[in-house]
């Protein structure tokens, strides 16, 4: 089973040989490009080996790759899985270090606090139980299987602040009854089906993320995922040929947990959203919608894109066209499912697409690595891969009927939970584009900010907002002083700690509600409030919201008896924009940068005067009093 959305790279072996001789930063980059090409089973093994050697030679890390520690606790053989996981991590800019508990020893490892698992301190724990372990032993019931898994989740939760991944059960058992198998509730096939059913609500309730193998087996066929011969010979439940697909699924869950899922689907128009060329064929000539199979295939792709938008993925258009022609179908074609209002950033011109993609990322205030570029034209795809290797460019199939499956299978937009804001994300970005236009027309910045009529609402974390707060903490990369990631349990701990100031900040303006745009956590101890987390959405940059946040934070911390406010800027690959935040807010440096470039800053609250800000601030009533 190959990852068909990845392009074939003719010079793969030559590039691997070259990568081995490059200095660490360039080697990491070259290997990431290799990981983003189609590979057979042996190539995955070769790339994994080269990656591990490069990591070992460079003290366990490589520039540009975020280190992650993954522990696999399993009931059967998993030794063939780490290579695919590491290579898929590399594909997403992660250097995943894998720890495998001894085959079948997961209970002991979890119970023994001096075990190698505890020494490893995983960031992510993957629980992988085979079907026979859960459903074919004496007296096994779906409920007992769930109990075992919940026990594992609790153990992991109590010991580590790790993301927990639970593999669903592969439906490996043949039916005993047939079409109406569930009528025999204790047949192994029925037990597996029922466990998978129970896992859905249980995992959501307990903040565990599922690795839905049953779902993939339903698409690819169980034979692609499981080979009875291999099970009998060596207790491989997951087929080694499926190890790449397995690894990619694991890596996308880990990446999603760290805010590395793509955020925006950039669409070409001609022969991507409709058949034909609007500039040549005209409104009546393009193929779209009812009447032909091809037209329906394009409509189905539009429907899928719309579905993505409804769950919070931003849509953009990047097309070589006259803008007037490009817009015409959106405005006039009766079968267009996507409307102009679904597109947060619409770019149709004759410039090269690499420049246009840069413009789109800038306008939407997201990284280029948050873009997925869907274009039917192989030449355009090749240029983007060459010019902007951080942009994901799926190999679009020749048949438009397969567009949807390709984008879905590639899993660029892997999501872990859905918040109310996700559902209106597209409008948020659309409104932002309008604000940008207003900014262009107003030259005086203060006048512009006043004209936005902003209201900021700051309040402590609450259980309703917990999911959204956790999501922001784990995915905000740019405006993030410490990039401290926290599990929902850890966020909840801080919420309930009377010595910790937590703030979730919303911003509304004349264009609409921006949702939660800032999160602050400060721990007050001995008169000093230490800012553990300060992050903001880049959507609201340049609007003095950071000053307003500081005003509010100072007030909350003073209430808890703090006389000083301290914070650290810890540099990452992505948060350079906040390097100067603390000095710009009159914090004084405490010493020099340490070896990692981190620096501590302090503000004396005794002399602190809240600075004027161009917005109304609403606080909970007890603070105002």
């Amino acid at each position: 089973m190959h990852l068909n959305w990845l392009p074939v790279r003719e010079d793969w072996n030559a590039l691997l040989a070259l990568a081995k001789s490059l200095p660490p930063a360039e080697a990491a980059q070259a290997m990431r490009q290799l990981a983003t090409s189609r590979m057979d089973f042996t190539s995955v093994g070769k790339l994994d080996r080269a990656l591990r050697k490069a990591l070992a030679a460079n003290g366990g890390s490589l520039p540009g790759l975020e280190p992650v520690k993954l522990a696999i606790l399993a009931s059967a053989t998993t030794s063939h899985l780490p290579a695919g996981i590491r290579v898929a991590g590399l594909r997403r800019g992660l250097a995943i270090e894998v720890y495998e508990a001894d085959y079948g020893m997961y209970r002991q490892e979890l119970m023994d606090h001096s075990s190698a698992l505890y020494a490893f301190k995983p960031d992510v724990v993957l629980l992988a139980f085979d079907a026979r372990h859960l459903a074919a032993s004496e007296g096994a019931t779906p409920e007992s299987a769930l109990e075992l898994m919940s026990w594992c989740w609790r153990q992991v939760r109590e010991a580590f602040s790790a993301q927990v991944l639970q593999q669903t059960v592969l439906p490996v058992f043949p039916w005993l009854m047939g079409n109406n198998e569930p009528r025999m509730t204790h047949s192994p096939a029925s037990v597996v089906a029922r466990i998978n059913e129970l896992l859905r609500p249980a995992s959501e309730e307990q903040g565990v993320d599922l690795l839905a193998l049953d779902q993939f087996a339903a698409v690819d066929g169980i034979a692609a995922w499981h080979d009875a011969s291999l099970w009998h010979r060596s207790k491989h439940e997951v087929h080694p040929q499926a190890a790449s697909a397995y690894g990619d699924q694991v890596a996308r869950l880990i990446a999603a947990g760290r805010g590395r899922s793509a955020k925006c689907l950039v669409l070409d128009l001609d022969n991507t959203l409709w058949g034909g060329v609007i500039g040549d064929d005209g409104l009546e000539g393009i193929v779209l919608g009812q009447g032909t199979g091809l037209g329906e295939a394009f409509a189905a792709f539009q429907r899928y894109a719309k579905g993505l938008a409804e769950r919070g993925i931003i849509l953009a258009v990047c097309s070589k066209n006259d803008e007037k022609n490009a817009l015409e179908p959106f405005e006039k074609h009766p079968e267009m499912l996507l409307k102009r209002s679904d597109i947060a950033c619409f770019v149709a011109n004759w410039s090269d697409k690499a420049s246009n993609l840069r413009h789109i990322a800038r306008t939407l205030n997201i990284g280029l690595d948050a873009l997925v570029f869907a274009d039917d034209n192989p030449a355009e795809r090749a240029i983007i891969r060459q010019e902007l290797p951080m942009v994901a460019v799926p190999e679009m199939p020749e048949d438009p009927a397969a567009y949807v499956d390709t984008i879905a299978a590639a899993g660029y937009f892997e999501g872990l939970r859905l918040t109310d804001e996700d559902r209106v994300r597209s409008q948020l970005y659309q409104a932002n584009a309008e604000r940008e236009r207003l900014k262009d027309s107003v030259t005086d910045i203060d006048g512009y900010l006043e004209s936005l009529r902003m209201t900021m609402v700051a309040q402590p974390f609450d259980s309703v907002g917990l999911a959204r707060v956790t999501q922001l903490i784990n995915k905000t990369n740019q405006f993030n002083l410490t990039t401290q990631r926290l599990s929902e349990a850890e966020v909840s701990e801080r919420m309930n700690d009377p010595e910790v100031v937590t703030l979730q900040v919303r911003l509304t303006d004349r264009f609409g509600d921006n949702g939660i745009i800032a999160i602050l956590i400060a721990r007050v101890q001995g008169g000093e409030a230490e800012i553990e987390t300060w992050l903001m959405s880049c959507r609201v940059l340049g609007r003095k919201v950071e000053q307003a946040c500081l005003n509010v934070l100072a007030q909350f911390c003073t209430e808890l008896g703090a006389t000083r406010l301290a914070g650290t800027y810890r540099p990452t690959e992505k948060n350079g924009m906040v390097r100067e935040l603390y000095p710009s807010l009159s914090f004084k440096a405490l010493g020099e940068e340490d070896s990692n470039g981190a620096r501590r800053w302090r503000l004396d609250l005794a002399d602190f005067q809240p600075q004027p800000v161009p917005m109304r601030i609403e606080l909970p009533s007890e603070v105002l009093a």
Binding site: D40, F41, T42, G45, K46, R49, S79, H80, S229, L230, H232, R233, S234, H236, P240, Q241
Partner: protein
């Protein structure tokens, strides 16, 4: 496929799987002769052979293959039957 051609291809597969550019497949070769040929890599080796030659071994066939020579015979029989 001729045995000589199979040995050539198998040598390539072994070099890739066992990460040793000096390896040359010979009839009497066993896991004991190759440093990286452990039980984990054995499964990878079989899968890589199946992928390279476009064949599929039965459970009994895998269990019968005790050295490289026997593997080549199996591969020869299977590719001939295709």
């Amino acid at each position: 496929m001729q045995q000589t051609e199979i040995y050539e291809k198998l040598t390539e597969v072994m070099r890739d799987v066992f990460d040793d550019e000096a390896l040359v497949a010979t009839p009497g070769m066993t896991a004991n002769d190759v440093k990286e040929w452990d039980s984990v890599n054995h499964v990878s080796f079989i899968i890589a052979i199946e992928e390279e030659f476009g064949i599929k071994f039965k459970t009994s066939e895998v269990e019968k293959m005790k050295n490289v020579g026997q593997m080549v015979e199996q591969i020869e029989a299977k590719t001939a039957a295709k």
